[in-house]
Symmetry: C2
Subunit: 341 residues, 2 copies
């Protein structure tokens, strides 16, 4: 799958997003400016491309998935706005976060508006893919949204309770809910529902297993990039996760490898609020991450998960008949863990 | 309509909200605790009672409107959480706001979760009121949500741009979008759609005109209460609107009545951030409100709008055949502008 072919998919979804923005808000208004800000910053477009590619991979017309891909991308942008507010982040996609640019009140309302706008293409599905599939897609998106929030709340609960007794499985469970569902699982499942006449639960289960493994690998990679990436490429501030006290796989590996004294000190640092953490605190945590080779451990885990994902695709998805598009999924599985942003 | 009859409606919706909360989140979890916090605080339950009453007023079974009333109430609670965050409010329904109680991150996610939960009863409508009406209701709720956010953004834009040139019509337009649609219009319209075999656009237009007048009167009353109510009864902090710089009808009346010097000073005060406003600033604004009898002006306007609303009901809604329920709307129209909380 060439970069050019992918760029065609991204452009189709970007145009459709603009359609919904423009038909709901007048140009030259602050509302339009606010709402189109994140959607027009350069992003990877993983979610809509996975959705459209899933439809094409089973022989469907990917144009039928544009509405759904657009809905998911609108929800994604809405989640980004909220995440940036609650994480008190400074940068997103290489520019100031929306709330740093326009203030909390306008940013929070813009986030809500994008979520509501995301319902429109799902309703418009009725005219293009029929009532039965439209309703199936709505239920998938509903489950996706519910899971994302549940994952976020669990993650925040771990931070709030300053948990240092977590195991990798706890992290995987958070990823399953907060990342996999809305980044990979829902795009793949809805794409296949749209592409096939009547997707079976075996087919949906198989793609969900694939997507789960890719999704966790994706999140692990995102977390390692938060520590190691070039800020310009990454577009967010480096070390943000440590400041927020996020329970990443690296941190959990440190908890399970370090001495009681180290654990006590790291626990004290993590329970300090973001603003109160010092440069030395961050350095101490990063030193432990290095001492226990936590990044290498995380990268190895991501690689294993990506391999598992590829095996599911190769061994359980023979109903994915379009080789060119199946290759897209195989290639993306590698790309998502090897990317530098 | 007795208070007891209303309390039956409120309880039915409260029970249905609990059903959705409990079937999506385990009890004894922080997520359940967070999400059920606002919904279990004592509220007026205006939105769901209007929805159920509208169905009953045209001879329908109000049990068919419970899902929709529940959806609207879940959205309402979600909006309250967001409003309290962006307004930096301290109290809601007599207790600390959710973000003051649990922190911004958990509160913002709880708000999102309630919005997503609100989709479930709308989907469950399919089984009880059929595909056609379910989709009509979804479109109404979508319009309601879109309008609410548009109204909020316009209101915030006026604050951000420190506008002191506004006319009452600008305020009415904000109310139409941010208040009327989701407090009165959508509950009434969906209730009637559910109750009638095939609601005509004339019927929906008439109830919309009624609801528009009531909604504006309701918001004016809310704004006067923000200045005059007993904090215990009102449940929110008094004078919050002045601190936020909200363009209420009273404030707009002052802009259009005061001297250029007064206008300059009030403009300077309003552009100060919430935290930087002093006690003396608030007193200065309140003194002008008193000097120009702005509260009396606002109350008179609310009364006129309520009268208009009652006239619409009496003259244009003869298809509202159930006298007992039609009386509910007539009584509520008075109650909503005479209430003390």
């Amino acid at each position: 799958m060439s970069e050019r072919a992918l760029s065609v998919l991204r452009k189709k979804v970007a145009a459709r997003m603009q359609y919904y923005l423009k038909s709901n808000f007048s140009l030259n208004t602050l509302a339009y400016q606010l709402l189109s800000d994140y959607p027009t910053r350069p992003g990877k477009g993983i979610r809509p491309t996975f959705c459209l590619a899933a439809t094409a991979s089973v022989g469907g017309d990917y144009n039928n998935a544009i509405n759904t891909g657009t809905a998911i991308e609108l929800f994604h942008n809405s989640f980004l706005i909220k995440d940036d507010i609650v994480d008190q982040s400074l940068y997103r996609r290489g520019d100031l976060t929306l709330d740093k640019k326009y203030g909390l009140a306008l940013a929070a309302n813009a986030g809500d508006a994008l979520k509501i706008l995301g319902m429109s293409p799902l309703i418009d599905n009725l005219a293009s893919i029929g009532v039965r599939k439209s309703l199936q897609v709505i239920l998938e998106i509903q489950e996706m949204a519910r899971r994302s929030i549940e994952g976020q709340i669990t993650e925040l609960t771990y931070v709030k309770e300053n948990r240092v007794d977590l195991k990798p499985e706890d992290y995987f469970k958070i990823c399953e809910n907060k990342t996999c569902w809305y980044t990979i699982i829902a795009p793949c499942r809805t794409g296949i529902i749209i592409g096939l006449d009547d997707a079976s639960s075996q087919q949906l289960d198989a793609i969900t297993r694939y997507a789960m493994n890719v999704g966790i690998a994706f999140q692990i990679t995102d977390d390692t990039l938060n520590l190691t990436a070039s800020q310009v490429l990454y577009g967010k501030e480096i070390n943000g996760d440590i400041l927020e006290g996020k329970r990443t796989l690296m941190l959990i590996h440190v908890f399970n490898s370090c001495s009681p004294e180290e654990k006590q000190r790291i626990s004290k640092i993590l329970e300090t609020s973001r603003d109160a953490k010092t440069e030395a605190d961050v350095v101490y945590v990063k030193d432990l991450i290095e001492k226990y080779s936590a990044i290498e451990y995380a990268k190895k885990t991501a690689k294993q998960l990506a391999t598992k994902a590829r095996v599911v695709l190769l061994e359980e998805c023979d109903w994915m008949t379009e080789k060119r598009w199946k290759n897209f999924f195989l290639e993306q599985t590698n790309y998502l863990i090897e990317r530098e942003r």
